[in-house]
């Protein structure tokens, strides 16, 4: 029995809608600048999925072509967005969106901020570590001591 193309299209459109909605929720509600932009990329993924499904349904290349341009524009967007995040971080020293709340419109109240309902994870901050592997090379002491930071 062949695959029903309408059912296939419906499945893909629903998955695309769910991806778009998840991205929209994250874009509105997260406060870390980097997570906000990840959520925007998830929204783009949902739209791309729907476009590819429509392209297959109509047996036409236009859907995939649009997705190709979406990828190009997303690359531009990521370059600009990351540059801007870097500059915003340099200005305020934090990735919090709330620090830029004076950019809102004049007649709007400041955003309400509630206390976080969960404590920070216990213990000192965990930085990523690499598992040592292999034989430790013999480095002369003076070669390591002159580095300001390793």
């Amino acid at each position: 029995m062949p695959v029903d193309e309408r059912a296939l299209l419906a499945n893909y459109l629903v998955v695309g809608a769910v991806l778009f909605a998840l991205g929209a929720i994250g874009f509105v509600s997260r406060r870390n600048l980097i997570t906000v932009f990840l959520a925007a990329e998830i929204m783009l993924q949902g739209v791309s999925l729907s476009l590819v499904a429509w392209g297959r349904f109509y047996n036409d290349w236009a859907g995939q072509m649009l997705v190709l341009f979406i990828i190009a524009v997303a690359a531009c967007e990521a370059a600009i967005a990351l540059a801007m995040i870097l500059m915003l971080f340099r200005c305020r020293g934090s990735l919090d969106v709330a620090l830029w709340h004076e950019l809102r419109e004049e007649n709007l109240p400041p955003p309400a901020d509630q206390e976080p309902g969960e404590p920070p994870p216990p213990g000192p901050p965990e930085w990523p570590r690499l598992t040592p592997a292999g034989r430790q090379p013999e480095i002369p002491r003076e070669a390591t001591d002159f580095r300001p930071r390793v």
């Binding site: 062949p2 695959v3 193309e5 309408r6 059912a7 296939l8 299209l9 419906a10 459109l13 998955v15 809608a17 769910v18 991806l19 909605a21 998840l22 991205g23 929209a24 994250g26 509105v28 509600s29 997260r30 406060r31 870390n32 980097i34 997570t35 932009f37 990840l38 993924q45 791309s48 999925l49 590819v52 297959r56 290349w61 995939q64 072509m65 997705v67 190709l68 990828i71 190009a72 524009v73 997303a74 690359a75 531009c76 990521a78 340099r90 200005c91 934090s94 990735l95 709330a98 709340h101 004076e102 400041p110 509630q114 309902g117 969960e118 920070p120 994870p121 901050p125 965990e126 990523p128």
Partner: protein, 254 residues
């Protein structure tokens, strides 16, 4: 099947509740309940999708869709931005798989290369600015999680009801459509994937391709200009909250 029309709104509602509970701001218990609600919601939503009629396509699609959607939910709701980026990468892999079985092989490869290879790695570089393991205050709260999740649930519910109601062959609105032999000789289903795409790109969509090239150049120059500005001109009004030592701050009412 008409009696089961309430399942999709219920699934959308459960999805909204689940995402709301999983957003940063609650404890681990709330998060567990949210994950449970979200799983039930995905199951309900999946049960309402029309079947593909062929078990190989159905199982491949199901696996890829579940991976994509669950990892997207993880990318949106995890506290630690590093984990967010990793979940996003997994979601990209799932999306690329879905592209692949839809006849978009070039796009699948391009998604992996451009997104997972370039954009995601740049994100991870930038994540060195963030505080590790969700320690920052702004990673543990969220803006108006309930409203955001409610609007997302409305979006999912409306779109799914429309799509399934119009396109489901079992609900009687439309007859099933199968691929004919004529379709298999041309277009996306023609068995040739990359060459027709490139041909279309550089013949019919040539101007758009040139415009995309100009856009990429402009973005490159713009990013260089934004980052390369001298520091003094960019420092705006003083921050209204303490610096990074306090793990982010809250806006003060002015």
């Amino acid at each position: 099947m008409n009696d089961l029309r309430w399942i999709i709104p219920v699934a959308a509602l459960l999805l909204g509740i689940g995402v709301w509970l999983m957003l940063p701001g609650g404890g681990p218990r709330r998060r567990g309940i949210g994950a449970l609600a979200g799983t039930v919601a995905f199951g309900l939503l999946g049960s309402q999708l029309p079947g593909l009629g062929e078990w190989v396509s159905q199982s491949v699609f199901t696996v890829l869709a579940v991976v994509t959607v669950i990892s997207a939910a993880g990318a949106v709701t995890f506290r630690n931005p590093v984990y967010c980026a990793l979940w996003f990468g997994l979601s990209l892999v799932g999306t690329a798989g879905l592209f692949f079985i839809q006849g978009a092989q070039f796009l699948a490869v391009a998604t992996i290369i451009v997104y997972a290879g370039a954009i995601l790695v740049t994100f991870l570089f930038l994540l060195m600015l963030a505080e590790p393991s969700g320690r920052a205050r702004y990673d543990r709260t969220s803006w108006e999680g309930m409203l955001a999740a409610a609007s997302g649930a409305v979006l999912v519910g409306l779109l799914s009801m429309t799509v399934v109601g119009v396109l489901d062959p079992e609900r009687g609105r439309s007859p099933p459509v199968a691929v004919t032999d004529l379709d298999r000789q041309q277009g996306v289903l023609g068995g040739e994937y990359v060459r027709p795409l490139g041909k279309a790109l550089f013949e019919r969509y040539l101007i758009a391709a040139e415009a995309a090239g100009v856009l990429l150049l402009a973005a490159l120059v713009g990013a260089a200009v934004i980052v390369g500005q001298p520091q003094a001109r960019l420092v705006g009004p003083p921050p209204t909250s303490p610096g990074p030592q306090d793990a982010g701050g809250e806006p003060r009412a002015s």
